[in-house]
Symmetry: C2
DNA sequence: TTGTATGCGTTATCAT
DNA sequence: ATGATAACGCATACAA
């Protein structure tokens, strides 16, 4: 089951001209005779000629392709980022190779290697949850492969980064809960090794401190993002001797099962427990109560991510230094945290 | 910003041996001297050698890569299918190139062409919403490129197909609503050009007929899957002179905004209107009321899709005839359609 | 304007 | 066990 595809050579032979002429005609080089070009184009069309990208790229030593590695495309944030990145890349004349790590550091390394072997000219990535060592990423730096990290970054990695101000976002969200009258605010956070989660915890603490509220360590819970673990953590936070009256949740995906458990337990949201989350997935607006959350400028983040990568790609020499972009967030207040009119 | 990567040639020169020896050693061919191999491996490691996949594929005239085209990865169904397909492909030694059409037939064509040029050995795809002509797809058949369609297929396309029994699924869902006491059941369907939607409408009609209920054409509404249009259609179906008491919705994504509008209007679900949808996204279980729906065996569908493709890929000659696989569905009854105990 | 020859990095065939 | 050398399909510098 394989039919030999038509090559430039076939067109050349059929027309009794050289392959270089055909190659030039096909690519619309100006020096070609109008008639020759017409004949070539016509025959190419008729034979349904498709240039072999492998050969083209090899000959040109250039692929105009960038690799994108994300933890999981079934998270709204990542698939939306991918869309935005793809769009921006396309506009700049690059195509995109996408890989999912499924939160495995091992796969991350494998994908990285595959992308390198596929001769991508740069890489955009968001680290997997389990990644706590960075040799595989640092290899890129050593090989001088342009790299931009977004969202899930690490301080130890020398690369351009695009992120939101996680500290400020959590700070704002916490202050909002305080304004709503919450005094015992907890945090259903992410895995302890996630920088992004820790930054948010810091913002949450600072907000509590600023408003003279006690920072209680065991009001912080860590979900590993899986459903089951989230349920366990939720049950734990619900059974605190003195119940919480406000809660930050690390992501909408984590908030969904958490809210479900709470409602099963008969908790009234937001009266008993006001909830604010992160990511602002579209569905969150449709829940009852609708879910408050911090929204990230996904569109802009994608554009900036690509911009930073292109900057490195087109940098004259070893010139460009890593740049870090911190994007603003927006707190979207909905029913789950709205206790009284302001 | 580009450092010349190390090639086989570099290793050969450094070791004063021929490139063929290096190539063989690297690939673990048995005829190589143990010492030679060790030296090569060691140096390759030290120089961080990565084979150029373009060159390898070109030389081998083989990529072991399959292309996957889906409408949008931010739909749960498609990202889940991708995961399943990728897993199955990986196990068979193939890697996957993913493209999104964003429901545009134009992009679909462009992606198809790119994949062909990238020398993928086969293609798995789900048609975009706007695709109503199939030349670009039929070109594959003409070029003898193995093809499997899933979910969004078309009768006119000669290819292997994997789908669920949409007629039966809608039939079951409708019967379930009837059992719940619904007598005026509507359908918030998908775009009229979507085969899958029409099949479900047929199943819905047949169920009504079987139970002696009138089939009313204007109880069928068509959403184009966008938020705004869904809202408009929902408002329309809510303002029928004689209100519906049961509703099928073409997908969970469509159901979310629809349910939201209904609740805003003060409708009680399921008491006033019982709702059943399609796809059974994970979030649907977390809504209040939780959403009933038809679930598809995504895992199996992915596996079967890949199996059918491999069957064509490894078919001795032009042999293999297109095969159509119809997978079973499961009706998941939740609160949105459960009116009374059975 | 067109043709020839060489290279892109690897694999594979045929010698040795 | 190793080495030349010809593919793979295309681009391009240099000639004509």
């Amino acid at each position: 089951m394989k039919v030999t595809p038509v090559r430039i050579k076939d067109i050349a032979q059929a027309l009794n001209i050289s392959i270089s002429t055909v190659s030039r005609a096909l690519r619309g080089m100006p020096e070609i005779n109008v008639e020759t070009r017409k004949a070539v184009m016509q025959l190419a069309e008729a034979m349904d000629y498709q240039p072999n990208q492998l050969a083209t790229n090899l000959a040109r030593s250039r692929t105009r392709t960038i690799g994108v590695i994300v933890p999981n495309l079934s998270y709204y944030f990542f698939s939306a980022m991918l869309n935005s990145i793809e769009e921006a890349a396309l506009q700049a004349g690059y195509s995109v190779l996408v890989c999912q790590t499924n939160e495995s550091s091992l796969r991350e390394g494998a994908h990285l290697q595959n992308l390198l072997r596929s001769q991508v000219e740069g890489i955009i990535m968001s680290l997997s949850r389990d990644t706590d060592r960075y040799e595989h990423v640092e290899r890129l730096t050593r090989r001088n492969v342009p790299l931009v990290l977004f969202d899930r970054y690490a301080d130890d990695i020398q690369a351009s980064k695009v992120m939101v101000d996680n500290h400020e976002a959590a700070f704002k969200a916490t202050e909002h809960l305080i304004e709503q009258g919450c005094r015992r605010i907890g945090f259903l956070a992410g895995p302890p090794q996630l920088l992004l989660s820790n930054r948010r915890i810091a913002g949450y603490r600072d907000a509590l401190l600023k408003h003279g509220l006690p920072v209680v360590d065991h009001h912080i819970f860590h979900s590993d993002y899986t459903h089951d673990n989230t349920v366990i953590q939720t049950l734990a936070l619900l059974s605190l001797p003195e119940p919480l009256d406000g809660l930050l949740v690390i992501s909408d995906r984590t908030a969904y099962p958490a809210l479900y458990v709470m409602k099963q337990r008969g908790l009234r949201i937001p009266e008993d427990l006001a909830v604010v989350s992160f990511n602002n997935e579209p569905v969150s607006a449709f829940l009852s109560p609708s879910l408050s959350g911090v929204s990230q400028p996904i569109q802009e983040m994608g554009i900036e991510t690509v911009r930073l990568l292109l900057a490195q790609l087109e940098a004259p020499e070893e010139g460009s230094v890593p740049e870090t972009l911190v994007m603003p967030t927006q707190l979207i207040v909905r029913e789950s945290s709205l206790r009284r009119r302001t």
